[in-house]
């Protein structure tokens, strides 16, 4: 009985959301508000139990949560976690107009930390990794001759990378030969986007198929 009820609720909400394809209507509004309300509350609970409790409360006051959070029995308080606790409290100062400026300290810390950690991450993956993976022979030999397919692939790789980099070069006006290379670069990008577009649309179609199959199982349960 409970399963049937769940199936009916899910199917009706699916129809309510799909009704948006026709136009905005009260059914869509209802499903939208329900979705937003439930998900906001759900994420708040997730935030408390997967972030606040294990990463702060369990570190500062282990005995208080040892019964319902997976942690070593002999866990000792780690008092340096008082620092993130203070930053968290600073965020809450936004609720008091007179001292709300204090929340900027916490925000500055988050943004500064993100910039610092992302600097090395992007440097590795987008810069060093790109250079390393582009240093291949332009003309590829195989069995004493030339591997035509691999050579064409290699030329496309090198020309594509260089031209795309030129497109993203902001310090020089894109005119003359530089401009031509830049235009070739945007062509490379657009061809890549086209391929990615087709690939992702196919993935979305499979999602739609999955939802229609669900509606099919709902219909099967009725008849």
């Amino acid at each position: 009985m409970a399963q049937t009820l769940e199936l009916w609720i899910a199917a009706l909400l699916t129809f309510m959301i799909f009704s948006f394809l026709y136009k905005d209507n009260p059914f869509y509004k209802f499903a939208e508000h329900l979705f937003v309300g439930v998900s906001a509350a759900y994420w708040m609970v997730i935030g408390i139990w997967s972030t606040l409790m294990p990463n702060l409360v369990a570190r500062l006051w282990p005995s208080s949560v040892s019964g319902f959070i997976n942690m070593p029995e002999d866990a000792q308080p780690e008092y340096h976690f008082i620092i993130p606790a203070i930053f968290g409290i600073l965020m809450l100062t936004r609720l008091v107009e007179r001292i709300s400026w204090l929340s900027r300290w916490a925000m500055a810390f988050v943004i500064g930390f993100a910039a610092g950690t992302n600097f090395t991450r992007y440097l590795q993956s987008d810069f060093v990794g790109q250079i390393y993976n582009s240093m291949y022979p332009i003309i590829v030999k195989a069995d004493g001759g030339f591997a035509l397919g691999a050579t064409i692939s290699s030329i496309v790789l090198i020309v594509g990378v260089i031209c795309a980099l030129i497109y993203f070069f902001f310090s020089k006006e894109h005119t003359g030969a530089f401009g031509a290379a830049s235009r070739l670069g945007i062509w490379f990008l657009m061809v890549t986007f086209g391929a990615a577009f087709g690939y992702t649309v196919m993935a979305r179609i499979s999602l739609l198929t999955g939802r229609i199959q669900f509606l099919g199982s709902w219909l099967a349960s009725i008849f």
């Binding site: 136009k23 937003v36 925000m107 943004i111 250079i131 390393y132 022979p137 332009i138 090198i158 992702t200």
Partner: protein, 424 residues
Amino acid sequence: MAPPDRDCRHFSKPALLLSLVLFLSPVLLLCTGNLPEAGAQETTLTIPAIVHPELATPTNVEAFDSPSDQGGSITITWEESTDDVPGTTLVKGYVILRSESPTGDFEEISSVPPHAEEYLDTSVRNNTDYYYKVGVVGAEQTFLSQTVGPAVAKQQWFNSRKVNLLFIALILTFAIILYVFQAKAGKKLYIRRISGIEAVDEAVGRATEMGKPILFIPGIQDMDNVQTVAGLTILASVGKLTAQYETKLEVPVSRSLVMSTGRETLKQAYLSVGRPDLYSDDMVHYVTDEQFGYVAAVDGIMVREKPATCFYMGAFFAESLILAETGNSVGAIQIAGTAMPTQLPFFVAACDYTLIGEELFAASAYLSGDEKMIGSLKGQDVGKAIAMFFILVGAVLATAASLSGNEALTGASDWLRNLFTLNF
């Protein structure tokens, strides 16, 4: 003629010799032990037991703290057993045993296949003594090496495997700082125009003329994503324009921290153009963290309020096309910017202008006019020039080495490539 004599004397000599051999052969076989005794056919044949030889133990076993790591790891190396010969099956593998005392009980912690000569023990605590033995596994028995240790796992402050990364980072940082100082000194730094940036003024003006609101979506990621930071920087520029033109601006967000930062950003923008009275905290409002819950709400806002302009600036995922298609259906002029390669095709297809990848960061620098950001953009261009140079030189060297087979060229090509090797 006399009848044939039956006496043996009448047999021929070869016949007599053959008879003697046939008579004596069983006797000879019995004497040599090659003839089964009487009743031997009824006894069970027994196969003699295979004696497994003693295997040579691994030599030069060493255990040491794994270098350039955060601790929690000890490396054990050894030279394989001399019986571990390719093509043979005498050695089944190696086992690694560990104890916290040289005389204590050694516990098997892992096993590795034949010919292995290294194992990384990542189940250790920092600053604790560990002793190890490596055993070579035979068919029935394991032969252990001498105990080695103590090895102590420690955290290193410097990761020597990433020296190349440090060097490159220093060059880029130096270039950025140099340009920041030049910008601060008043030097006019050239940055080419980007069509998407030029369209911002036009888009805000259109909304003002139509008397409709502007919708600004700073992605669905948190403040630890640089794309969100770039999106909020563009929000500041858009906010200054909406404050000047008295145009309604709405910013629904999916992260609480983005809401706080967005409010601060917008408040500052309205203040900077002398219109703090037009600012309201409700302009930047939280919806939900849930991706498609957020999309459902933003789609609802679009079809009900029918904004004249939609900005999508930040990190997006599967929601990009849903948002952009809905915005398109309500007739809004749409400007998008993201560095998410998988979502760019959707914005390119459904929006009027798209800032592709790094153009998003360039736009935030360009619109803000901030010396630090413009200097940073110029410094990054130095990085791109360096990348293009090394890619071209590396490819030409690799081609020359491949075609000529010259050892010096091959060595130079490998050396250059190793400069950009990622060692994790």
